[in-house]
Amino acid sequence: MSKSTLRNLLQRDARADRVVPPTGYTAHLTLFVSGAMAFLAVFALALSLASGRLADRWATELAGAATLRINAPTEQLAAQTDAALTVLGQTPGVASARALTAEEQAALLSPWFGADLPLDTLPVPQLIEIVEGEPGLDAAGLRLRLGAEVPGAVLDDHTRWREPLVDAAMSLRRLGWVAILLIGSATAAMITLAANASLAANAQIIEVLRLIGARDSFIARAFVRRFTFRAFFGAVVGVLFGLTGVLLLPEASDEGGFLTGLGFQGLGWLLPALIPVLGAGVAFLATWAAASRKLKELS
């Protein structure tokens, strides 16, 4: 399709638009479908963006840290902790390493055992927090060295549980995009059906136009313009309702976790504005294809 054809198809011509009567259930169907689909698309977009943010946050927050656990008899715990800190201090890729205080360890355990836990009476392992630096931690090499010098040390670089979490968030993001694609496809299918119904209902008008010398592009234009503008306005209404729904969601908070972070952030609020444009584009292509196909069937 050339640029001039595209321009002609979209250029408003009130007289030409009157050729096809602006009535029929297809008008309401197109408005409703594009509105409903745009509403759903806003939520799919919000879900996708929120999942992406979550995946990024989990990946960055956990990627630069590791934990060393010293499991040793109480009398050897301090010596092994010192040995471990010495090893860590000599290891490339370790920016800093520090042993957690008894209070910090008690705070970590308190959600499970309560705040009044007598930690000093229990054989609790010593935790060492490691902050990764350049050129990055060689976890396998560090484990070998610790195995030789600190027998009770267990290195946890968080990979084991970081990766599934990030994978889950990325999958959720992909699902969001798949949902948007499905919404677009369903919109195209519904508008194609509506356009076909409209073309069939106006077959006699199309025949008259052909007989008096109308080109296919002229006839297609009347239908394409109408469906494109209907889809656009329907989608605008759907997006407004969708954004209202997103605004009514609770503010993001640590207590609420993932479910309270579903809205848009920053420039992300502008992205839903693309939905009516994309909806109109989908309607334009669907109607143009349906009209071209139908007109070729006629003499």
Binding site: R15, A16, R18, V19, P21, Q204, I205, E207, V208, L209, R210, L211, I212, G213, A214, R215, D216, F218, L295, K296, S299
Partner: protein, 225 residues
Amino acid sequence: MIELENVSYTYGDGELLSDVSLQLQPGSFHFLTGPSGAGKTTLLKLCYGALLPTSGRLSAFEQDVARLGRDDMALLRRRIGVVHQDCRFLDHMTLAENVALPLMVSGQAESAQKEDLKELLNWVGLGTRLDSRPPELSGGERQRAALARAVILSPDVVLADEPTGNVDWEMSQRLLRLLVELNRMGKTVLIATHDLSLIRAAKSRVQARVLRISQRQIQLAGADL
């Protein structure tokens, strides 16, 4: 201008026209007669490309109609004005809009349309019915409006399919006068009609060739008409 060479047309199992040859020369006037169902409308449809021959050659303005693309076919139809028996108006549009449709589809400016339209509708005697809807018009008014729509692009050829089929004698004479006037302006006219009195009435006004379709073939009619 329009030429059929050994044209046959078959629909389903039945052959409607068989080995028909016909030439419409520029500025000529033709009547096409024959009983109902003889194939008059089929022949007219072949002439304006609504049907294509099953065999034989159909050319219009030195173009092989069977080889024309869809856009070229549209351009060809702008050079052939057709008055359909059932007029084929768009009922949701006014008379003026219906008559102006060919101008609209050919992309002519609205200002030019208004002047041409008013002049044309006065010529067919419908200058006061511009805003009427087709269902509000009488049979004669509809036929005159259909004639106005057929000639608004100043086509080279005017084809009329039973233009006087639904009107009284006085109105049929009025339509005939308009068609004769068009012929005097240089238009080629072909009228399909089973109304022999119309053909007789035309004899004194125009030199017309009368063709008769009989048994799927076309013949020059004798002096018995």
